[in-house]
C-alpha cells in the first residue's frame, strides 16, 4: 500500500510498483471455472489470494466482468470456463425501449451484489496490504450492452432528447455502483472507455457527444477513477480527456508511446501500462522480459508511473511460470 501511495504522492518508492490484471486468472489458479469464480465472492477472493501468492502485485482487482452490469438490466449473458462472461443478447431491441429499464440497486441485484461483495471480500482478505481496484463500465459505453451499438450510435448522434434520457440512466448507474465499490473498500475504480477510440468515434464527435457524459459521471464520484484504454490506442485522444474530473491516472495501450502520453497529460496524472495482458499467453518468456525491461527503462525517470498490463485480463491459459518470471523481474531493485 505504501509503495502505491508513494507514487501517488510523487515520492520515490522502494521499488517500482506493478500490477497485472489477473481478475480472471484466480479461477485458473484455484482449478475452478471462471463461471464459478464470477458468481461467488468468497471464491473470487480466494482466487485473488492465489494470485497474490504467485505474483505479489501491488494492486489487486475486483471482477473484470462488465457484462454482469448489463445482466442486471436484463441483458442475456454467455458464461465460459476460461473467460469472463459476455453479453449474448442485449436487454432491448432498440433504445426506444428505455422506459422498460430500471436502474438496478447494487445492494440487491444479484450480479451487482456479486461485484461489490467480491471487492469487499478481497479488501477484507488482503487486510490493507494492497489497494483494490474495482472495474466498471463507462457510462458512454453501457448503452451498447443494453441496446446494441447501432441503436446507441443512432440515438447519440441523431436523437438528443432520447440520448439525454439514456445518459441520465447510465450516469446514475455508474455513480451508484462506483459509490457501492468505494463503500466496500475499493481504493479507486477503473473504467475502460471504448467509444472514445478514434476508430469507433472520431475526436470531434467524442468532444461533442461523449465527453459531457464522462465529465458529469466522473464529477459525481466519491473517489478517484482510472481511465482505461479499453483495448484501443488512446495516446491521440489524451489531450481531449486529460482534464476530466477525478481522474487519477490513465492505463494506456501497448502500442501507445509513454512519452507522447506523458506530454499530453503533463506531470500530474499516473500513467499505467503497457505490457499487453491478452498477449501474455502467446509470447515467450524472454520476449516478455525484454518488453518489461524496455518499459521500465523508458519510465525510469517518471515518478508517477506504475507498471501494469494493458488491455483485458491476462488469459486463463497463460503459463504460471511466465507470470513468476515477470514477478521476479519486476521485484528486482530499480
Amino acid at each position: 500500500m505504501e509503495r502505491v501511495g508513494a507514487v501517488l504522492g510523487g515520492t520515490a518508492p522502494d521499488r517500482r510498483p506493478f500490477t497485472l490484471t489477473l481478475s480472471l486468472y484466480g479461477s485458473r489458479l484455484l482449478g475452478r471455472s471462471a463461471a464459478d469464480c464470477f458468481a461467488d465472492p468468497a471464491l473470487y477472493a480466494a482466487g485473488q489470494r492465489a494470485v497474490t501468492e504467485l505474483c505479489q502485485p501491488d494492486v489487486l482487482f475486483g471482477p473484470f466482468a462488465l457484462a454482469l452490469e448489463a445482466e442486471a438490466f436484463g441483458s442475456t449473458l454467455e458464461r465460459f470456463r476460461d473467460a469472463p462472461p459476455v453479453v449474448r443478447k442485449p436487454a432491448l431491441k432498440s433504445t426506444a425501449g428505455i422506459d422498460s429499464l430500471r436502474i438496478p440497486d447494487p445492494a440487491t441485484a444479484p450480479g451487482l451484489r456479486f461485484l461489490v461483495d467480491s471487492v469487499a471480500a478481497v479488501v477484507a482478505d488482503q487486510g490493507g496490504t494492497r489497494p483494490v481496484a474495482a472495474p466498471l463500465a463507462a457510462p458512454c459505453d453501457l448503452p451498447i450492452m443494453l441496446a446494441g451499438m447501432d441503436g446507441w450510435l443512432e440515438t447519440l448522434m441523431f436523437d438528443p432528447a432520447l440520448a439525454a434520457r439514456w445518459t441520465a440512466l447510465a450516469v446514475e448507474h455508474f455513480v451508484a455502483l462506483a459509490s457501492a465499490y468505494f463503500a466496500a473498500g475499493a481504493a479507486f475504480v477503473v473504467t475502460p472507455v471504448m467509444l472514445v477510440n478514434p476508430s469507433l468515434v472520431n475526436p470531434s464527435l467524442v468532444d461533442r457527444l461523449l465527453l459531457p457524459i464522462l465529465r458529469e459521471a466522473f464529477s459525481r464520484l466519491p473517489g478517484p477513477v482510472v481511465f482505461h484504454h479499453g483495448g484501443n490506442r488512446i495516446a491521440g485522444i489524451l489531450p481531449l480527456v486529460a482534464d476530466l474530473p477525478n481522474v487519477a491516472g490513465f492505463v494506456i495501450d501497448e502500442r501507445d508511446p509513454f512519452e507522447a502520453a506523458r506530454a499530453a497529460l503533463g506531470p500530474g496524472p499516473l500513467l499505467l501500462g503497457n505490457l499487453s495482458g491478452p498477449q501474455c499467453a502467446l509470447r515467450g518468456a524472454e520476449d516478455q522480459e525484454r518488453r518489461v525491461a524496455s518499459i521500465l527503462s523508458d519510465r525510469k525517470n517518471d515518478p508517477r508511473f506504475i507498471f501494469a498490463t494493458s488491455g483485458a485480463d491476462v488469459p486463463w491459459e497463460t503459463d504460471p511460470r511466465t507470470l513468476e518470471r515477470l514477478r521476479r523481474l519486476l521485484e528486482a531493485p530499480s
Partner: protein, 240 residues
C-alpha cells in the same frame, strides 16, 4: 449542377454526422438533376471516397454508420413501388447478365449484433439488390429455406464473436447438403472475421469484405460466379 463541389459538401456532412444537412443536399440535387443523376454523380462518388478512407482505417465506425444512414435516407427519397409503399424503385441500370440481384442476409444463430448487417443491407439496396433481411439469431435451415424461396444467389451472415461465428458452419452444411454449392454463395462478415481472417475459410465462407461499403462488390462477384460468367473480385480475393 456542380456535383464536384456537392460531393465535397456531402462528404463533410457525413464526416461530422450532419445527417439532416446531408439529406437536404441530396434532396436539392434530386430536385435539380433527378434521382438517378444524384445517385451516380453525387452519392456514389462520395461513398467511394468514404470507402477508401474506411479501408485504410481513416474513417471511424460512427462515420461509416452515418454514411449508411444517409444512404438509407436517400433510398427513402426514391419513388414508392406501386402497391408496396415500403419498397422503393431502384435506379435503372445496365441489363443484368445471370441471376437477379437477390440476397438474403442475417445475423448468425445466437448473434444479436445488428449494426454491420444493417449497413450491408443499405449499401446493397443502393446498388440495386433486393435484400431479404431476416434479422438477428437466424437458424441455418431457415436462412437457406428463404434463399431458395426468393431465388437468392448470395446469403450474407454476420457474426461478432467467435462463439456465434462458429454457427456459420451450419449454414455451409445446409448449402452443401442441398447441392447448392456454386449456385448459392456464402458471404461472411463481422468483427471476428476482421480480427481473424483465417476464419472465413475455416468456417466455410466463400468470401468476406473489408467494410460494409465493399460488400456490394463481393456480392456482385458471387452473382457472376453463380451464373458462371465472372471471376472473383478484389473484395473476395482479400479473404484468404
Amino acid at each position: 449542377m456542380d456535383f464536384a463541389a456537392m460531393q465535397s459538401t456531402l462528404y463533410d456532412h457525413i464526416m461530422e454526422a450532419r445527417r439532416r444537412e446531408a439529406a437536404d443536399l441530396l434532396g436539392e440535387a434530386i430536385a435539380g438533376a433527378g434521382y438517378e443523376a444524384t445517385l451516380l454523380s453525387l452519392l456514389e462518388p462520395t461513398l467511394a471516397m468514404l470507402g477508401e478512407r474506411w479501408s485504410s482505417n481513416a474513417l471511424s465506425l460512427a462515420q461509416g454508420f452515418v454514411a449508411g444512414k444517409v444512404a438509407e435516407d436517400f433510398l427513402a427519397m426514391g419513388a414508392p413501388v406501386p402497391g408496396s409503399p415500403d419498397a422503393r424503385e431502384t435506379v435503372s441500370r445496365e441489363p443484368l447478365a445471370g441471376p437477379a440481384r437477390i440476397a438474403v442476409i442475417a445475423n448468425a444463430e445466437d448473434d444479436y449484433h445488428a449494426m454491420g448487417r444493417s449497413l450491408v443491407s443499405t449499401f446493397l439496396r443502393l446498388r440495386g439488390w433486393q435484400v431479404e433481411d431476416m434479422g438477428c439469431d437466424v437458424l441455418a435451415g431457415d436462412l437457406v429455406d428463404r434463399a431458395v424461396s426468393v431465388g437468392a444467389c448470395v446469403v450474407g451472415i454476420s457474426a461478432m464473436m467467435l462463439t456465434t461465428a462458429r454457427n456459420v458452419l451450419k449454414v455451409r452444411a445446409e448449402i452443401d447438403a442441398r447441392g447448392l454449392a456454386g449456385k448459392l454463395f456464402l458471404a461472411v462478415g463481422g468483427a471476428v472475421f476482421r480480427m481473424r481472417p483465417e476464419l472465413v475459410t475455416e468456417l466455410g465462407g466463400d468470401g468476406t469484405a473489408e467494410t460494409a461499403l465493399d460488400a456490394p462488390a463481393l456480392f456482385e462477384s458471387f452473382r457472376l460466379r453463380s451464373a458462371g460468367t465472372g471471376a472473383a473480385s478484389q473484395a473476395e480475393s482479400a479473404a484468404p
